[in-house]
């Protein structure tokens, strides 16, 4: 592998790692809650804080980077990100972890916009933007999967430990690439004491000749990106929550399950390339697929992991078709590139925060409302079970204790059956009852997620509005 290729790979990996951090801890949240304490709402800030800070800091970071050569700025951003990752891994309290996540996001913002400029400098305008965009899509989609596997294999801390060498390796690359890149004379005149790198690379014959560049941000693709990101957050966050907390699936199994989304997202560009439908058609089709996939998750016909695969595939295809294409549209012929790249980061992560802000209250209320029907269904199953009355009463007592012990979370009923010690003759009936009760809990959890999935589908469908309005205006 040549030095240039290695540098390109490391910068793309850094961009993917930073964007993966948006949702990488999703599967680790239950373990973090158990180890660091606090409330469910408090732990959700481990996720929200990163996205919020990234959304707020991205544009100022681009401005800061535009004042100087991007190499040192990018290296500084990566160093802050890597250092904050190390602090996250060693955090002994929720406050420290959330604070370190904010620092991670601030450094990550600088690293992301810097990586865009450096990738363009290394590979050219079209390829550099595409690499940066694809890294983002892969990172966003694969984040929860990787986070889940690391949590299951080692611990939640391992997610952050792994990030340190992965990103730190790109620091010398950023410094070296930044030093080598030429500075356009026009920019040097404008900023004699600085190097407007965005300007320099944009003018280094990568833009299409004869096409006027624009400084105004592309509103429609950014609004659509924000709405789709909100919907995709739902797809990943809610699905992971349903699998791990609702259906009590092991994090590793959940991680493998949600890997359908990145796999489908990876295949989507091949489909688009084969059909050559154009970015607008890709965006419309992508929004339809994401909205349809989320409706599919709301209407699962069975409480089995396998039932989620088809809707996930739709979401993954939609993700692959839209995020790549919309980001490309938002950056197309627009300067300074870093600013517009930062705008897409802001749009996407503001969308993530919007998604969490809209969907968290819905799921919280629905989970509360799901308790009564679930309790009634469990009661009915116990009353109708082919077990002696005395056994049923003893079991009901144990089940009640389990519900209290889980403090509103979906309970693990197995200890209640273990404590029952039924005689051998009653064991098959007790096992069948336990299975039936778990099925009732799974159904109740699934139903509790229905409105949130449908609301997320609505957000994805809403992303069609700016796209179609723009299309009409263009006509």
């Amino acid at each position: 592998m040549t030095q240039r290729r290695m540098a390109t790979a490391l910068l793309a990996l850094t961009a993917a790692t930073v964007l993966a951090d948006s949702a990488v801890v999703t599967l680790a949240l239950p373990q973090i809650l158990r180890e660091l304490g606090g409330s469910v709402a408090g732990v959700s800030w481990v996720l929200i804080a990163f996205n919020l800070v990234l959304a707020v800091v991205a544009v100022p970071a681009a401005w800061l980077l535009g004042r100087r050569a991007p190499g040192p700025g990018t290296a500084l951003g990566i160093a802050v990100f890597a250092g904050a990752s190390a602090v996250c891994a060693s955090a002994s309290g929720l406050g420290v972890l959330i604070g370190a996540r904010c620092a991670q996001a601030a450094g990550g913002a600088l690293a992301l916009v810097g990586c865009l400029e450096l990738l363009v400098a290394l590979t050219g305008e079209r390829r550099g933007v595409r690499l940066w965009t694809v890294s983002g899509v892969v990172g966003t989609a694969a984040g929860p999967v990787i986070g889940g596997l690391l949590t299951e294999a080692f611990s939640w801390q391992s997610i952050f430990i792994v990030q340190v060498p992965l990103t730190a390796a790109a620091i010398p690359v950023a410094l070296a690439v930044g030093k080598r890149t030429p500075i356009h004379p026009e920019c040097a005149v404008k900023h004699p004491d600085s190097a407007d790198f965005a300007c320099s690379t944009a003018h280094s014959a990568h833009l299409r000749p004869g096409v006027p560049e624009s400084r105004r941000p592309a509103v429609a693709p950014n609004v659509a990106l924000a709405l789709l990101s909100a919907a995709l957050t739902a797809a990943l966050f809610l699905l992971v929550l349903l699998l791990v907390e609702g259906w009590r699936t092991e994090p590793a199994t959940a991680a493998v399950t949600v890997s359908v989304i990145p796999v489908a997202a990876f295949l989507a560009p091949w489909v688009a390339r084969a059909l050559q439908a154009g970015p607008q058609a890709e965006n419309v089709a992508g929004c339809l697929l994401v909205a349809g996939g989320l409706c599919g998750l709301a209407l699962l016909p069975a409480t089995a992991v396998v039932a989620t695969l088809a809707p996930q595939a739709l979401i993954g295809l939609g993700l692959g078709l839209t995020v790549d294409s919309l980001t490309g549209q938002a950056l197309h012929d627009r300067l300074p590139r870093a600013h517009h790249g930062a705008s897409t980061i802001t749009a996407r992560h503001a969308g993530v925060v919007l998604g969490l802000a809209v969907l968290t209250p819905i799921i919280t209320v629905d989970l509360r409302h799901a308790q009564a029907p679930a309790q009634e269904a469990i009661t009915a199953a116990v009353l109708d079970a082919p077990l002696p009355g005395t056994t049923k009463i003893a079991l009901a007592q144990q089940l009640g204790d389990r519900l209290l012990a889980e403090r509103g979370r979906v309970p693990d009923l197995h200890p209640a059956f273990v404590a029952l010690h039924p005689p051998p003759a009653q064991q098959p009936a007790a096992a069948a009852l336990e299975s039936g009760l778990n099925e009732q809990l799974d159904r109740a959890a699934l139903r509790a997620f229905r409105h949130a999935f449908l609301a997320a589908a609505g957000l994805a469908a809403l992303a069609l509005v700016p796209l179609l309005v723009t299309r009409r205006n263009v006509r």
């Binding site: 688009a272 059909l275 050559q276 439908a277 154009g278 607008q280 058609a281 890709e282 419309v284 089709a285 992508g286 339809l288 697929l289 909205a291 349809g292 996939g293 409706c295 599919g296 209407l299 699962l300 016909p301 069975a302 409480t303 039932a307 088809a310 809707p311 739709l314 295809l317 939609g318 799901a370 029907p373 679930a374 309790q375 009634e376 269904a377 009661t379 009915a380 199953a381 009353l383 082919p386 077990l387 002696p388 009355g389 005395t390 056994t391 009463i393 003893a394 009901a396 007592q397 009640g400 009936a429 009732q440 159904r443 109740a444 699934l446 139903r447």
Partner: protein
């Protein structure tokens, strides 16, 4: 068809196919099993035999009757009764009436066992002198069944049952069993005495 239109239409068709399949497979209705209407008779089978089995059937049918009277579900009533706290008169009356309904239904369906088959269990720990117990055992089954119609004994037992105390101890299987058995024994003995006169 142009590729520009083909991709969105293909996506819409794919979505329609997935959603259609899911709805056809019951995706719209999937949720926790809804509680049955307690006012409609349901099949109740007890796995226990003898007095305990009979008690289970009566309680399960009685809960339906009580819930129907209280305009709630059997499950909601059970969950409410499982919570600590005093029971209202309406609840106590509804449970007693529900138990009466249960006896009537089992009697109408000829599902009540003859008294002779329950006698051994009733006499154990009844406090009756050994001589009396031996005498009762010596009586032919036909005479016992004639003098002790099960439905009558159970109706009397339900009247004698301290429903409020039963509901206060509903989470303790031993206490529940003890209260029900005591009420049945008392009814059997009262019926026996009435029959001998």
């Amino acid at each position: 068809m142009t590729p520009t239109a083909a991709l969105p239409l293909g996506a819409a068709a794919l979505v329609a196919a997935v959603l259609g399949t899911q709805v056809a497979a019951g995706g719209w209705d999937l949720g926790p099993t809804r509680a049955a209407d307690p006012c409609r008779a349901r099949a109740v089978v007890a796995v226990s035999t003898g007095l305990e089995g009979l008690g289970e059937q009566l309680v399960l049918l009685g809960l339906d009757g009580a819930a129907c009277r209280l305009h709630t579900t059997r499950e909601a009533l059970v969950l409410r009764l499982a919570e600590p706290g005093a029971r209202t008169d309406a609840e106590v009356d509804a449970v007693r009436a529900g138990l009466h309904d249960a006896v009537d239904r089992l009697d109408a369906e000829h599902r009540l066992p003859p008294a002779s088959s329950l006698l051994d269990e009733v006499l154990v720990g009844s406090g009756l002198p050994d001589l009396v117990q031996r005498a009762l055992h010596a009586l032919p089954d036909s005479l016992i069944n004639n003098r002790l119609p099960t439905a009558e004994v159970l109706r009397r037992a339900v009247d004698d049952l301290d429903v409020r105390a039963l509901l206060a101890r509903v989470t303790d299987p031993a206490q529940v069993q003890s209260l029900v058995t005591a009420a049945v024994r008392k009814a059997v003995i009262a019926q026996l005495i009435a029959g001998l006169h």
